[in-house]
């Protein structure tokens, strides 16, 4: 669990942590049955009030991402991976962030689409180049 908080962002810390954990679960980095680190430990690592983590874990449990086993801790629940709607919402949020940052730099949506296409081409080239190397 590698979570980073952006202190300058006005997005509440609670939101940031929740989003990061959801991301980790939805992307498959954290799989069903994986144990989340304890509330105390996460609070210490992020230097956040344990209260906040309690809220995050509680909310994640309500939304079905994690389940608590009394005495043992919190674990990624089975339904988590199937939350496609959540995944899409998260994707939208991530996209919004990207668009905001790029706009701040002065780039338009067209510029962004061009850049994304470039990235796509170059990664294709890499894959092809890689297979070329293999062939050699």
């Amino acid at each position: 669990m590698n979570i980073k908080i952006n202190p300058k962002s006005a997005v509440p810390v609670y939101e940031q942590v929740k989003r990061e954990i959801k991301l980790a679960i939805l992307s498959g980095n954290m799989k069903e049955g994986d144990k989340l680190i304890s509330i105390r430990e996460l609070a210490v690592r992020l230097k956040i009030n344990p209260n906040t983590i309690v809220k995050v874990y509680y909310q994640l449990e309500v939304e079905g991402f994690i389940a608590s086993r009394p005495g043992t801790g919190y674990f990624v629940s089975a339904e988590a991976g199937r939350a496609q709607k959540e995944k899409h919402e998260l994707f939208e949020q991530v996209t919004d962030d990207y668009i905001t940052s790029a706009s701040d730099l002065g780039y338009s949506i067209e510029d962004m689409i061009t850049e994304l296409k470039n990235k796509d081409d170059s990664s294709e080239k890499k894959n092809n180049g890689g297979s070329d190397d293999k062939d050699r």
């Binding site: 992020l46 230097k47 956040i48 009030n49 209260n51």
Partner: protein, 275 residues
């Protein structure tokens, strides 16, 4: 719970607090800040019982003993201890005074503080950690920390914060911290209180503050926005807006609206006093 009711305190003619009221509920971590000399440390001392109020009173919740000092852990920036005593003697005195049966030496062992060293021989960082271990030994319900965190080295700071956060998590204590430097501590607080002229000028949770205080960078003057501080720069002006209303204000802004961290927010509030 800490309830400060109609508190009055001052030295001679100069009154620091007059009719001051504040209530801090259980399990809340409160960060108190303000300019130098506004009375933050004095407030902590009054809560700790080290100073006695001139008027009004400070009461605690039902969980506290008759003499609340049994369960108040006070870490002041003076790190007050009997300096001529050895570490072991100081611990012995402390245990006797508070009626503590068992002392946890793990912190001292971790930071390699020797039992036979005299307190005055310890470095400031070690003294701070030593005082922390003494305070933890009384199993406090209320923890008062005056800006000590940033006078010690980065490693000891990490140790200190870990212990405090652990304590908040395990024992659900009420914490009041005084800080001028918010690095490392801003997210530990549930509530931020800014003192000004002996009164509470700002009292809010951090998330609301971040939503309501924004920096607008613009080369044109802002009209109709509640600006609390403006700083002219070489090529533009930085305007600190409070309270910022996204719907109402964003259209009126011809410039960039930026989010702030706690340091910037507090700077905006107290900057107005100097400028």
């Amino acid at each position: 719970m800490i309830k400060i009711d109609n508190l009055t305190f001052g030295y001679g003619k100069k009154k620091i607090f007059e009719g001051f009221n504040l209530e801090i509920p259980d399990w809340q971590t409160c960060l108190v800040t303000g300019i130098n000399g506004v009375g933050k440390s004095t407030l902590l001392r009054l809560i700790a019982g080290v100073l006695l109020p001139d008027g009004g009173n400070i009461t605690f919740g039902p969980g506290m003993p008759v003499d609340p000092r049994f369960k108040i852990g006070f870490i002041s920036d003076k790190i007050s201890l009997y300096e001529s005593l050895k570490v072991s003697q100081m611990i012995e005195l402390h245990m006797r005074m508070y009626g503590i049966k068992k002392f946890d030496y793990s912190l001292l062992e971790h930071t390699k503080i020797g039992m036979h060293q005299r307190v005055k021989e310890l470095s400031w960082g070690h003294r701070t950690i030593f005082l922390l271990s003494l305070v933890l030994a009384i199993e406090p319900e209320v923890l008062l920390i005056d800006e000590v965190i940033h006078s010690i080295d980065a490693y000891l700071r990490k140790v200190f914060l870990e212990k405090v956060i652990g304590l908040i998590s395990e024992r659900k204590i009420t914490v009041v911290m005084v800080n001028l430097n918010f690095h490392d501590v801003e997210n530990i607080a549930d509530r931020v209180i800014l003192l000004k002229d002996g009164k509470v000028a700002v009292d809010s949770d951090l998330d609301s503050l971040k939503a309501k205080v924004k920096k607008v960078v613009s080369s044109e003057p802002l009209n109709g926005l509640p600006v609390i501080l403006s700083i002219p720069r070489e090529d533009c002006t930085e305007y600190f807006v409070y309270p910022y209303d996204e719907k109402a204000h964003r259209p009126a802004v011809k410039g960039k609206v930026m989010d702030l961290d706690l340091t910037d927010i507090v700077t905006a509030f107290i900057g107005g006093e100097y400028v």
